[in-house]
Symmetry: C2
Subunit: 281 residues, 2 copies
C-alpha cells in the first residue's frame, strides 16, 4: 500500500516535472532542442523533435564548364564582370547562347531554383525550431551543407556571388564558423552519411499521394529524408531513383521546386503540430 | 405512376449527365472553369469555384523618389545602367546609402518581396485552375493587376526591368493583351471594386489562428480577400487596418510574405479539396 502510494507520488512528480519542463521548453530558446532530446522524461515527444532532412538533388548549380570558356558570349560576360569563366556560376539568363551545345542543357544553369528553395526552407518555422537540415546536391556531384542559422542574401546577384565564393573556397564565410560548406560528394555518399530510415522523392513519374499522406508517414520515421529535384525540366537520373524508397507525385502537373518545398515543410510542421504549439507561445 | 417514372428517369439522366460532365470537366482544359460556373447543374460545386483574391498590400515597390535623384549613389547607378533615376525601381541592395534620408525607409525598396510572392502565387495549382486573382498594391498607392496566365521572369534583374517598364508605360507587354496593368489606385478603391464579403489581413499584431482555421472560413465566403504585407518591416498603416474584417497572426514570429502566401494558397486549396481532385485526373 505504502509502496503503491510512493509509486503514485513518484509518477505524479515525474508528470509534473515533465509538464513544467515542457512549458519552460516552449518558452526557452531554440538551442534547447538538444537538451530536450537528451532528457529521457520527454521520450513521448520524440516524434515531434525528429529532424527532417531536405535534399535538393541534381540541382542546376555549377560553374561554367570548361568547354564553354572560349564561347564569345561567355568571354563577353567574363570581361564585363571581371571574373575568369571558371569562377562564374552558369546562368541560363546570361549564358543561354553558349549553353546550346551542352549535354543535358535543359537541366542546367538555374541557380535561381536553389536560391528560392533555400530562402523558403530557411525562413520556415520548422527551420527556426532547428528541426530542418537542408543539403543542396548538384548535377556535378557537389554537396552544399547549409547550417540552419544561415541568413542568405535575398538579392539574386548577391546570392550568385556567394555561390561563386563557395565554389572557389569551399566554404562561406571565408573565416570563422562555416555556414555553407561545399564538398565533392555524390547523392549516394550523402545518404550513407545521413543513414535515413525512409527516403521520399518527388517526381511527376511517382505514385499519386497528397502531401498530407506523405508527411504523415515521414513524421513517424526516425530519420526521414525528402528529395526534391533542383532542376527546371526532365526527371531524376536512374542513380537518384535507386536511392529513393518511395517516389510520389503530389499534383497532376509539375510544380516548381520552391512550391513543393514550402508545401512539404508546412505539412510536416502540421504533422508534428508545430503551428498550434508556436501560436500558443 | 407513369409521371413518377418519367420524373425518376429524367432525374437519373440529369445525374448521369452531371457525373459525365464532371468527369469530362476534370479532363478538359482550364478555360472550361467558366463554362462550369455557368452550368446550373453544378451549382452544388460553386463553393469549390469561388475565386480567392490575394492582395499584397503597401508593397515596397516604387521608382526612385524625386528627393533622391541627386544623391551620388543614385547618380552613379543611373549612369552605369544608362537609365534616368525616375525610371529606376528603388532597391535597397543598390540604393541603401541614398535611402537613409527617406521617410519610412524600413518599409521601402524591396522589389524582391513582390517578385517572390508573385512567383509563388502564379505557380500554384489554385492559380492554374484560374481560382486566384492577385493584385499588388504599393506604398505609394499604385495597384498592379496580374492576369493569372502571366509568366513572370524568374530572373530578378529581368523582373525589375519589367517593373520599370510597367511604371513607365502602365502596362506589360507594351502591345497586345495586357498581362500586367498598373494604375494609380488606393487599397480602399481596389476593395470597393472587388466588393469582398470577407477580408482577412495577416499581421503579427492580429489574433492567433491557424491557417487552416482562416482558410476554412474564407472558403465559405462568396468573395474572400486575403491581404498580406509586401514590406520587410513594420506593420500595416491605420488606413489598411480599417479595411480589414479580421486581422490574424499565424505564427509566433514574423513570416516572410512569400511563406504566408504559399501557405495560405495551399490551405485554401485543401479547403476546397483541390489537391485530391487534381491527383485524380
Amino acid at each position: 500500500m505504502v509502496w503503491a502510494l510512493a509509486l503514485i507520488l513518484s509518477l505524479t512528480s515525474m508528470v509534473e516535472e515533465s509538464s513544467e519542463s515542457e512549458k519552460s521548453y516552449y518558452k526557452r530558446e531554440k538551442w534547447c532542442n538538444k537538451l530536450f532530446i537528451e532528457d529521457r522524461f520527454f521520450s513521448y515527444t520524440l516524434k515531434e523533435l525528429r529532424l527532417l532532412t531536405l535534399i535538393l538533388a541534381e540541382s542546376a548549380l555549377e560553374t561554367i564548364p570548361k568547354n564553354l570558356w572560349r564561347h564569345p558570349a561567355v568571354k563577353r560576360y567574363s570581361k564585363k564582370h571581371r571574373k575568369p569563366p571558371q569562377l562564374i556560376v552558369l546562368d541560363r539568363s546570361y549564358h543561354h547562347a553558349a549553353m546550346r551545345t551542352l549535354s543535358e542543357s535543359d537541366k542546367r544553369g538555374r541557380p535561381d531554383i536553389v536560391h528560392f528553395v533555400l530562402l523558403e526552407a530557411l525562413g520556415s518555422p520548422l527551420n527556426k525550431e532547428r528541426l530542418l537540415q537542408v543539403y543542396v546536391h548538384t548535377l556535378n556531384n557537389h554537396v552544399i551543407s547549409v547550417k540552419p542559422e544561415t541568413r542568405l542574401p535575398r538579392n539574386y546577384s548577391r546570392f550568385v556571388g556567394l555561390m561563386e565564393q563557395l565554389f572557389k573556397l569551399g566554404r562561406a564565410p571565408p573565416n570563422g564558423k562555416a555556414l555553407l560548406k561545399l564538398e565533392s560528394k555524390t547523392l549516394s555518399q550523402l545518404l550513407s552519411e545521413i543513414n535515413p530510415t525512409y527516403v521520399v522523392g518527388f517526381s511527376t513519374a511517382g505514385a499519386p499521394y497528397t502531401i498530407e499522406e506523405v508527411t504523415s508517414r515521414l513524421s513517424n520515421e526516425e530519420k526521414p529524408v525528402v528529395i526534391i529535384g533542383g532542376f527546371p525540366h526532365g526527371h531524376f537520373s536512374a542513380v537518384t531513383l535507386q536511392l529513393v524508397d518511395k517516389l510520389v507525385h503530389i499534383d497532376s502537373e509539375m510544380l516548381e521546386a520552391s512550391t513543393v518545398t514550402s508545401r512539404v515543410i508546412y505539412e510536416y510542421e502540421c504533422a508534428i503540430s508545430l503551428p498550434m504549439k508556436r501560436l500558443k507561445r
